[in-house]
Symmetry: C2
Subunit: 133 residues, 2 copies
Amino acid sequence: MKSPEQKQFFTITELTREFEVSTRTIRFYEDEGLIQPVRRGRTRLFKPSDRRLLMLIMRGKRLGFSIAEIREIISMYKEPPGEAGQLNLLIKRVNEKRDQLIQKRKDIEETIAELDQVEEQSLTRMAELGVST
Amino acid sequence: MKSPEQKQFFTITELTREFEVSTRTIRFYEDEGLIQPVRRGRTRLFKPSDRRLLMLIMRGKRLGFSIAEIREIISMYKEPPGEAGQLNLLIKRVNEKRDQLIQKRKDIEETIAELDQVEEQSLTRMAELGVST
DNA sequence: AATTTAATTTACGTAATAGTAAAATCGGGG
DNA sequence: CCCCGATTTTACTATTACGTAAATTAAATT
């Protein structure tokens, strides 16, 4: 049994099962240029690097990022540019993205805290019912 | 100058400015049943409670929740039901939503860590350029 | 009263993100 | 060799979350 990182290639169906998406979705991401599987004949073969990209895409989706935003994030992971101006631009965009993420984290903390309250009130209410029954 | 919570009513334009959305968007949320402004004649008047709902909606949007999911979250904030079965259902859904949020928070932590690395590499590269120039 | 400004209703349009169906093709097992 | 299941391409469809335009009306200003 090979681990995903050892495997040379994945078929599209293997990936649809692992990530619980349709073939249509994976091909859509290819159309969008997010992944570039190689071909054997007409059949797509996905490398471990394609699989890692899919993991990034799914994570981005969970966070509510659009395809365009995911594309931008992925592009940041490539080799840093050699030109100073481009490097500065990259750093600026990294900081913007991080600020967005920090805001989201704050939103999450607040929402979790509120849900905790809802649960607490519900449990209190349950106890009251248990007593009054 | 009254604070938002002291004000009795807000006009739609006041809210579009505060939340940086269009009137179309706010009316759309009304159509979806997320808010129920009262009317003076045909004109909508928004209470502080409507404004608080809008804050919840915007937060949900930042977290990538759909209108349906936001509606579900909002519904959890209402008075807990009086029947035990319904209470159990509510508690179950609260826990599901919290799990989702915890997953998102994990996704965020990972992404931030990766962005930190990108920045670090970029700064290193900048230093090299500074030296080699 | 006339004009301007703001808000409403109605309806059609659109971009993003896929779902679904049909027809063709390819590769492997018996 | 032939069939079957997996895969591909192509094209049409669907949903969400609004944008936009037009016609109408109400409110405020001159």
